[in-house]
């Protein structure tokens, strides 16, 4: 509702959000948060072909979220969370701002409810749906 003052044109963030916008890629990231894994380990739980899975890994790499090193015949992937940190900061502020408003709204609703109950008792009849 409220956008304010700043336009953030950040190609890095665009790539990060694009990378996060697919369940398979989020699944890969979650699993990489525990330990380094090779491409076959990463693609195994995904219901897709190896090439399809490695394409997702490339998208994550492009966003800087995954780093790859080659050891013999293995491609080992690990999480690089710093772009995620930037992205998290970016939406967190927006969320916090609205959550503060909604916390006040919650209190207001409790107050309205209480007032309504008191009023109903006083009149001992239920009033028409208020407008």
């Amino acid at each position: 509702m409220l956008n304010h003052m700043v336009l953030d044109r950040s190609p890095t963030l665009d790539r990060v959000f694009h990378a996060l916008a697919h369940p398979a890629r989020r699944s890969i990231l979650r699993r990489l948060s525990d330990k380094e894994q090779n491409l076959s380990e990463l693609s195994a739980p995904l219901k897709m072909s190896f090439p399809a899975a490695s394409k997702h890994v490339r998208v994550l790499e492009h966003a800087g979220l995954v780093r790859r090193r080659i050891q013999g015949r293995q491609h080992l992937c690990r999480l690089n969370a710093s772009p995620l940190k930037d992205a998290a900061d970016w939406t967190q502020g927006f969320r916090d701002q609205w959550e503060k408003r909604f916390e006040v709204l919650e209190e207001l609703l409790a107050e309205m409810q209480q007032k309504e109950e008191t009023g109903t008792q006083a009149k001992s009849v239920r009033g028409p749906a208020s407008k």
């Binding site: 956008n3 990489l32 525990d34 998290a88 502020g93 408003r101 609703l109």
Partner: protein, 170 residues
């Protein structure tokens, strides 16, 4: 997550921001709190120092709304307005509870970002109301700018989850 009360913010497309939050109140009251100026003034605040100096609401199809804020120097600094397109108050048996309006900044938002469409839907279950706010922006830049506004206001960020993740990632 319904019932936890926590706000969820998602970006299902490049143009949208969707917020969902549940409230421990019937939707009839949530509707009132979202459409009547005396209530909007209470919750629709900006950071400390800002005050809402105008809040006009005419929630009928074709009716308009206008909000104005003064900055810390007391002068009009930001204004936003729009027109109601759909107004269906909560009715019997879960019907209604839908509000659609256009929103645009008339000043204070540089650069002006064009018109956005805001849809509010209220659903009730077990005495609790789930509020869904969908804001669709004219461009991805406008959407991203809206999200960035949170940062701009210097609201504290929650690093907890992230720290845990970073720690786990080693």
């Amino acid at each position: 997550m319904m019932g936890s009360g926590m706000l969820k913010v998602t970006t299902p497309t490049d143009l949208e921001i969707v917020m969902t939050r549940s409230f421990n109140a019937p939707r009839r009251l949530v509707w009132e709190a979202m459409t009547k100026p005396e209530f909007i003034r209470r919750w629709m605040f900006l950071p400390p120092g800002w005050t809402m100096i105008k809040c006009e609401e005419d929630p009928r199809v074709g009716g308009s709304f206008r909000w104005e804020w003064a900055g810390p120097d007391g002068k009009l600094a930001m204004a936003m307005g729009g027109v109601y397109r759909e107004v269906v108050p909560p009715g019997e048996g879960g019907a209604g509870g839908r509000l659609v309006r256009t929103e645009s900044f008339e000043m204070g938002c540089v650069p002006q970002m064009g018109e956005q469409h805001c849809t509010m839907v209220l659903t009730e279950s077990g005495g609790k109301t789930l509020l869904t706010l969908n804001v669709k922006y004219p461009t991805k830049e406008a959407r991203d700018g809206a999200i960035a506004s949170g940062m701009e206001h210097g609201v504290s960020a929650g690093y907890d989850k992230l720290d845990a993740m970073l720690a786990a990632g080693g």
